[in-house]
Each structure stands twice: as structure tokens, then as C-alpha cells.
């Protein structure tokens, strides 16, 4: 079903060595990249710093995209959260405002970390940084959680795809939600099996999502989909930590995602020739913008 290691194998190896998926991924990457654990942790720590800066910058609401369609929404949400009025609670509000913040910085040509892609770069920072606050995770644990996410991402990229042009939005925001759910469970001290279940639940709920960007830009609906995918990851982690299992294992969910991506029409894979991209409003926006 897959080339390279499967999720099942990663979980089995983690359980056997009695270590987290993050630590296992660090160990495997040390061998593959012929480098030291310290070096790998340092490099991932740089990624984490860039994620933090992007969150901070996005929350100021200063940055706008070239088309003017994107910018300022993360701040709107954060301002409302600070008044204490939310329907979904503070954790959810913080998660999605951060996801929006990073995605807005990306749309406005700011500095971000592709995770796994630029279009889906807000999901992991939103979920990870908020979960870390909730569970009081250390810097070291955050870096390990990023490696856990990367370990699962490698399997997705190898067995399926992480490109919207190949697999639709499910391959970008879906993969990111899966990775974020895995990272959240690891941060919260869940088992490797629970992390894989969370990833499976998150990805299952994003299957079939098409890539239909208005005017071909990484703006509408991409930015808000980052927020929704982050919320999805949080819900999936919550379920898995409560011992709720995914009836379909993550390896098979990834297989399904690939199968769906293969039969998805081209017009719905980043070409801006279908879906939201060809609605009257989208076509109007495109025309106005291209003038």
C-alpha cells in the first residue's frame, strides 16, 4: 500500500522503544541525514521561532495581500476573544486566530514555514502553540511534537501527496490537520497509537476537499480553511485523547486520500477552473483584481 515506512510501523517502533513518535522521528532522521540530534533539534527550533514570529505579526493585522482580499481577520478574532465573548471558548478562539494570522502573513508575502506547504502553513502553528499553552509544554516538547508531525507528514508525502495540484486541498490542509492532530496528542502526553488515531480522524474529515482558489491566489478560501482545519485537528486530538479510536487506520485513510486525489478532476486541483473559483463573485473579483 505504501512505499517506505507506514504509520503502523512507526507506531510499533515507538511502542517497542517506549518513546514518542517525535523522538522516534528524530532518531530515524539522525540516521538518514547523517547528523546529530542536537543539530536536528536546533534546526527545528528555528522553524518554531519563525512560526511564533508569523503568529505575532499576523495578529497585529497590519499585513495585506496584494489583491487586498486578505488581511486583518486574525486581529478581528483576537480582539473579540479578548473581550471574553466567544461561542467556542478561549482555546478554540486562540487556535483559529493564530492559524488565520500565519495564513494572512503568508498571503501578504511575509515569512512563514511551509507546513507542509505555504498554503496550509497556519494550521500547525495554531494548534501547536495553543495546545502547548494549555498543557504547559516545554520548548523541547514543542520541537519533538514538530518532529512527530514531520514523521507523519513524510508518510503522507511518500504514500500519497502534499500538493494541491496533485491531490486537491485535502493533500495540503488535510495533511496539515492530520499532522497538527498528531502533534497535539503528543504534546498532551497521549500515546503513539492515540496520536495516529487523532491523525486518522482529522484527515478522514478533510477527505475530498478540493483546491479551488479564487483567481488562482493563495487567499480565498485558503486562509479561512487554515482556521477550520486547525479546529478540526483540535477536535480530533480531543477525541483520540479520550480513547476514541479511528475505525479506519491512518495508513488506509492516507491511501483513500491518494485514491480520491487521483480521480479528482483537474479543474478542482489548483487550476482555478472549478468550484469556488468559478462562482460569479470569484470571477468578478478576478476581473477587478487583474485590471
Amino acid at each position: 500500500m505504501t512505499k517506505g515506512l507506514t504509520i503502523q510501523e512507526l507506531v510499533a517502533q515507538s511502542e517497542e522503544a517506549n518513546e514518542s513518535l517525535g523522538r522516534l522521528t528524530i532518531r530515524l532522521q539522525c540516521q538518514e541525514l547523517e547528523t546529530t540530534e542536537q543539530e536536528l533539534r536546533g534546526k527545528m527550533s528555528e522553524n518554531l521561532q519563525v512560526m511564533r514570529h508569523a503568529v505575532e505579526e499576523g495578529l497585529t493585522g497590519q499585513r495585506r495581500s496584494a489583491s487586498g482580499l486578505v488581511g486583518g481577520d486574525a486581529k478581528r478574532l483576537e480582539d473579540r476573544r479578548r473581550t471574553g465573548k466567544t461561542v467556542g471558548g478561549d482555546v478554540l478562539a486562540r487556535t483559529i486566530s493564530r492559524a488565520l494570522a500565519v495564513a494572512e502573513v503568508n498571503a501578504g508575502m511575509g515569512k512563514i514555514v511551509a507546513a507542509p506547504t505555504a498554503g496550509s502553513c497556519g494550521i500547525l502553528p495554531g494548534v501547536l502553540l495553543t495546545t502547548a499553552e494549555e498543557v504547559g509544554a516545554s520548548e523541547e516538547q514543542l520541537v519533538e511534537a514538530l518532529f512527530a508531525a514531520a514523521g507523519v507528514g513524510i508518510v503522507i508525502a511518500t504514500a500519497a501527496s502534499i500538493s494541491g495540484a496533485q491531490g486537491g486541498c485535502q493533500a495540503e490542509c488535510g495533511a496539515a490537520a492530520c499532522m497538527a492532530a498528531v502533534a497535539a496528542v503528543e504534546l498532551a502526553g497521549g500515546s503513539p497509537r492515540q496520536a495516529a488515531d487523532a491523525g486518522a480522524i482529522a484527515l478522514k474529515s478533510m477527505l475530498g476537499l478540493v483546491c479551488d482558489p479564487v483567481a488562482g491566489l493563495v487567499e480565498v478560501p485558503c486562509v479561512k480553511r487554515n482556521a477550520i482545519a486547525a479546529a478540526n485537528a483540535l477536535a480530533a486530538a480531543e477525541m483520540a485523547l479520550a480513547e476514541i479510536e479511528s475505525k479506519i487506520p491512518l495508513d488506509e485513510v492516507i491511501w483513500a486520500m491518494n485514491q480520491i486525489g487521483n480521480v479528482m478532476p483537474c479543474g478542482l486541483k489548483e487550476t482555478a477552473q472549478g468550484g469556488l473559483a468559478i462562482t460569479p463573485t470569484a470571477l468578478n473579483l478576478k476581473e477587478t483584481f487583474l485590471k
Binding site: A66, I112, G119, A150
Partner: protein, 222 residues
Amino acid sequence: MSYTAFDIIGPIMIGPSSSHTAGAVRLGQMARIILNEEPAKVKMLLHGSFAETFKGHGTNLALTAGLLGMSTADERIPCANELAHEAGIEIQYISADLGDVHPNSVRFELVGRTGRQVTVTGSSVGGGKILVNEIDDFPVELTGEYNTLITVHQDQPGVLAQICSLLAATQVNIAQMRVFRDRKGAQALAVIETDEQVESAVLDLINRLHPVIQAIAAKPVA
């Protein structure tokens, strides 16, 4: 294709799109390296999706940033036009049909400070990866992922043997090598991708080989 943890969480880059922004920066870098001197005048012919969405993705800024030597994570990318202007580089962006090429393609027509001219055509093939597919009229395949030695030389026996012995003598291992020419006995172009960097002293020696017209060494694009 194999992935590392940093292909998944990474690269650190200026948004919004790995193929329209990060890949475009890398194409600009390669064009600058192949020109092998400070550019004075650059015309960029943008094809397909590059032509349609360059404004929204900052593809033009990214290409110019690469020409100025910036990396994909350089926060000055959005100001690339102003910086090129300050550096006295004349830049032109033109929408064009380059024929049967990848939808994210660009042709650079470069003129250097000393008047050297070169045309470079390349594509951004996804996830920030690039492929240079034409240098002047030579069809090439150049990814920029390796240390690369590019030579233009007279097509005659023994040239490559001499270049390869110099590389061998300095412990530079060849990963891939391809040679292109228009016709027998005319000029040929070699693209030699290596595991190690070709030191400048070795490059000087290669440049001094009689049949070699020009040799350029490039580091992997960042």
C-alpha cells in the same frame, strides 16, 4: 522521491506560494549565476500561470529578488523592484507564450555589466523545486539542487576528460553529467552536477583549458 523532516516542516520562506514565490526566487538565482556577472538589463517573459497570477503571488518580485541574489526566506523580496532600481538594473516583465512548456515557466533575457548576453528558460515544477531547461539554444536539465559546473566549450575530443581529471584530482565526485551541442565541432555545453563544491582555484584551471570558453560553478540554490 524521498522526504526529510525539513521538507515537511520547511522551508522557511516568504509566501504565498512555494511554486509561484519560492521556486521563482530560485529561478532568478540560477539565471544570475548563469549570466556570471552583475546584470544590467533583464527582460522576463512570463508564461502560463506565471503570466496570469504573477501580481497576486509576487512572482515578478520573487524572480527579481533571485536575480539580486536573495534567498527564498529574504524579507526584502516584496521590495525587489525598488532594490533592482537602486542597483541600476533595468527590469521588464512581459506576458508571453513560450510554447509547449510547464505552466509555471519564465524566459530570462539577460545582459550583464560587460555586455555579456544569455537567455535562460526555466520552470517552477512544484514545492519550490525548479528545472532550468534551456540556456541560450542548448536544451539542458538543471535542478539547482546540487553543486553545478556549467561549461561552454569547443566540441572536440578530450575536453570533458580534462575537466573530469581536474575534478577527480580534487576529490570532487560527479553525481550527474550531461553534454549538449548544436552540431559536431561547434560549441558544446556541459552540465556537471557534483556532490562537493568546485573550489575557485579548480574553476580557474578549468577556465584556462584551451577549448573552454567559459566555466561557471554554482552552489545549490537556497
